[in-house]
């Protein structure tokens, strides 16, 4: 009975607006005869239903549809393609799309320690680099690394120092070299 009462109560607005089927109407009406609570509630709904808002007049009702349609067309003419752009989410997205790349670019260009490296953008410009600060020792070290296949071999420092004979040997003529070769062979020095 309790469930039925709650069910009927749920249907009172529809009963008042006439949205129920004939069968449902009969059920609700039968319940109302014996239920004071539901009768009070229906009476309340009916009482408020009779309180109509002030009528704005026939002129308002008759003119509203045409007015709304013409206003809509006016707005479409005023903002034909960019109307969507004026909506807050679209506007915010557009601002972000412009602002984020702009600020990122400015940050990268202006961050501390950053400098323009010509080698990065144009490797051919390496010819313009000044090597005058390099000493003979620096070149010797680099040559040793190249000869011994770079870092994989532990190159003894000073292998080609001022005591080396490589310059003297390089300056010998072919006859002198043959003579030196024979002497080394006689003394059984290989290499």
């Amino acid at each position: 009975m309790k469930q039925k009462h709650e069910d009927i109560k749920e249907k009172l607005p529809e009963y008042f607006s006439g949205a129920l089927s004939e069968e449902e109407k009969t059920t609700v009406k039968g319940h109302l005869d014996g239920c004071r609570d539901c009768r009070d509630e229906l009476e309340l709904i009916e009482a408020f239903g009779k309180v109509d808002p002030p009528d704005p007049g026939e002129f308002f009702w008759a003119g509203l549809p045409r007015k709304v349609i013409s206003l809509s067309k006016e707005q479409k003419v005023r903002f034909p393609a960019f109307q969507w752009f004026l909506r807050p989410p679209a506007l915010a997205a557009a601002v972000l799309l412009i602002a984020v790349p702009l600020f990122t670019m400015l940050y990268i260009q202006n961050r501390p320690g950053n400098y323009y490296d010509p080698l990065f953008s144009d490797p051919l410009s390496a010819s313009a680099v000044d090597y005058s600060w390099l000493t003979e020792d620096d070149l010797t070290e680099v040559s040793a690394k190249l000869i011994f296949n770079g870092d994989a071999i532990d190159v003894p420092v000073g292998i080609f120092d001022e005591n080396s004979y490589h310059e003297d040997i390089a300056s010998l003529s072919s006859k002198e070299l043959d003579s030196l070769f024979r002497e080394l062979k006689n003394e059984k020095i290989g290499g």
Partner: protein
Amino acid sequence: MNDIELIENYLSGEDTAMEELIVKYQKGIYALAYRITWDGEEAKDITQNTFLRAINSLNKFRKESSFKTWIYKIAVNLCLNYKGRHCLGHDELDETIAGNEAGTLCLLIQKERKSYLMKALSEVPERQRIAVSLRAYEGLSCREVADIMEISEGAVKANYHNGIKRLKELLKEYRDETEA
């Protein structure tokens, strides 16, 4: 012709289809706007803006809910925006009612009763008033009201019953005052 067909006809260039649709719902929207704002002029503006917004956003109407539910949702949102900007006192409400009634004794009694009923409805919390207005006066189901108010069906039922309960209390107070 149903609402969806009318919308399709309007989108294919037939303005009279939209006129028919507006005529169908304009009084309901106006009554709802008035019951929420208690301001006749504002209710007229809300009614106009509801249809204007609906026409301009027809491409967003996905036909998942009925056009009626969709347009009532627009109206309720506009009303709530209005309520956020304004605070109506009872004096203004009485003036609105007084300006719309005649002066015979019988009508004065009716006016007093109506005045009290409207005042009572205006004293019910906003969400409860919207639920009562949509359920009782617009004949919408709990599901439709839930969709419009963007709350659960259970919350609609609670708002509706609490609203009705509050109205009963206010009417009882009114009877007690009258009898005393």
